[in-house]
Symmetry: none
Subunit: 127 residues, 2 copies
């Protein structure tokens, strides 16, 4: 059998529990936090958030909360599933996927050519 985790109807919500525990730790009411975010997050929404009723809260919201609750923004982002636990940016450019390569992925000759062209562009625009 594969690892079909039984997806609970309600989320595996680390985020909600976390928010709730922080808020209680600071001994604030839902409305207190709403105030603390200068109304950027409503108490009603925070309630839903803590109870895992929300799938993808917008980063904007998380940012407000991080300030109001004095926790790290990246921490919330991570718990919301938007960031990997501060992992490395794999220099995966290795596997030479034909279809896609960006400007960071150049052969020596290409790089030389581009640098020349860049010099040309800059010279031209500076005239």
């Amino acid at each position: 059998m594969s690892h079909d985790e039984v997806k609970p109807a309600i989320k595996s919500n680390r985020l909600g529990e976390y928010l709730n525990s922080v808020r209680r730790g600071l001994d604030l009411s839902l409305r207190d936090v709403e105030e603390a975010t200068k109304k950027e997050v409503s108490n009603a929404y925070l309630s839903q958030l803590e109870n895992g009723k929300i799938e993808k809260p917008s980063p904007h919201i998380l940012h407000s909360l991080s300030i109001a609750l004095n926790v790290k923004y990246e921490d919330l982002m991570e718990r919301a599933g938007y960031l990997k636990p501060s992992s490395e940016r794999a220099s995966d450019s290795k596997h030479g996927r034909a279809a896609t390569f960006a400007i960071e992925n150049l052969t020596v000759e290409e790089e030389e050519a581009l640098l020349k062209h860049l010099a040309y562009i800059r010279w031209q625009t500076s005239k």
Copy 2:
């Protein structure tokens, strides 16, 4: 000098221009990118994104695009205004090539021009 910047009605959208220039640089159509994301992002939506019609694209979308276009997820997040540019840029010294530095330090217009030129170079050498 501390005039408040007049916020243009339309976005200060670096993200859109950036996505557009990268896509063109790779010489892909909107629909090509839609394919590349395995339909996770529609061509219609990508169009709106590039033209700055979207305020808060979901990180999920940005993630798909970052993979399809082979750019860094955090980069897109930052351009979308979700991350502070604070994230230290340290990692990019990976290539250990001096030239890469110069090339990774570009204005949007320069980048676009270079990507075009790169496409041209690659097309030419592949004949």
